[in-house]
Symmetry: C2
Amino acid sequence: MDVESFLKERKILIDAELEKILPPEDTFPASIHMALRHSVIDGGKRIRPILTLVVNELVGGNYQTLIPFACGIELIHAYSLIHDDLPAMDNSDFRRGKPSCHKAFGETIALLAGDALLTLAFQVMTDPVLYETHHPLSIVKAIHVIAQAAGLQGMVTGQTLDIETQGKVFDLPLLEYIHTHKTGALILAAVKAGAILGEAGEDALEAFTNYGKTIGLAFQITDDVLDVMGSTQTLGKETGLDSMQGKATYPGLLGLKESQKRIRELTQHAEQALSQFGRKAEPLKQIARYLAERTK
Amino acid sequence: MDVESFLKERKILIDAELEKILPPEDTFPASIHMALRHSVIDGGKRIRPILTLVVNELVGGNYQTLIPFACGIELIHAYSLIHDDLPAMDNSDFRRGKPSCHKAFGETIALLAGDALLTLAFQVMTDPVLYETHHPLSIVKAIHVIAQAAGLQGMVTGQTLDIETQGKVFDLPLLEYIHTHKTGALILAAVKAGAILGEAGEDALEAFTNYGKTIGLAFQITDDVLDVMGSTQTLGKETGLDSMQGKATYPGLLGLKESQKRIRELTQHAEQALSQFGRKAEPLKQIARYLAERTK
């Protein structure tokens, strides 16, 4: 299979649904609706919602009816980028090749746009279209997993530590703790949600948990490596920011070569975690490799 | 019945559950956990979660098992206060007689604390304890109503307009639009959630919707009136801020006397909306009157 075409097909589904979910730019009051579209439309790889769909398909779920739920996860990712870019956080002027939300619309609207997306996510994940096609208990369980990952047990704690440890020397266990919370948690939750909503059994859920954990960590180490090696033009955001801001990174602590080796090891573990699914797991394995080898 | 004792009894239940929901202050990383407790514990009337419980009891629900869900609604209220107080929003230094969250912990932690509470709300509302005692479909529907009220169809749009219209002269329909979105929406949603989770019928739901809408608007007009009349000491927050910030208010547009008359009318409508429930509706009627006559 051609993984890039495969991902592109799914991305088109996600993008079309996001287009429907977000109200038109001229909805009253226009400021916030413009900001939401600026930050969500035409942006990103949509890797989290794609993982939800692909895992769901693997366990025999009807992934087409799951697209709105998957988009909810993407909205949570988008909210986190808007808030992370704010001056009180990472103070980033660019995101996805465009001015960041607060640069384009001011801090007040950026703050509110993030709040709106985080809330809209849970609205979308409880849309009637979902409980007409999925067991309501599965929806409740999947939302619980997503909320845990987005909050204190995941992204919020990761971002808190990411900011608080700037300029401080620290060790690999703490860096891994930050990475698994800040980035890994939502990737893992996206994978688990696809399985839960596909009514996967305990064994399958455990396998997906291992897969999600390892690709989540590999994803953030790859981000660290790209921040050192990539160019602003390729990534669409400023590079070299991590070291400028005194953030610890895998290349900073382990060196570039050792970091790349760690990404390869994690990716192998991710593939091995799916052995029980045989050839059906090929798309997820290829996604793991694609994420490890990406240049942006 | 003595409405103050009645409310106090329910408030004790809510406070005890919030105490359990929020991790201890020394949880790693301590900064954010201290900020959460600062902003949630010992603060506020808990009127939203109390409404959820009282409505639920009226329709025959087992309101004791609904306490965690009700607390989720209070967490959304608490998040909105933290973000509204930020310098990029209302720039308020005091809240509930204490320094506001960003004054005590800085802007970064306040921003993250708000994000954490909004997320924790949905985590709590999907807690296993709820689906062991309530129909999962009712939970999904109630969450949908809450998310709508917190987001673009409610609080976020209300707050956006509240900020954007500062210093601008405008008319009563727009002011009412802001009030019903910024404050009314979550009060209405709290009422509706109690009914939905108690499996109320269509007629009852319509009655509660009318009740929730009218007390929600009356609540915000009362806030406007207290901002003019109250003292900082009684309210625990700065007063006279609305006119200082050039915010339109009911007393500003209609005068104090006409505003107080409007509160009385809305409260009467709220009571009438509950006529089908007979004497059982007495607590909700008394709560409506209590909210209209409060001095803080």
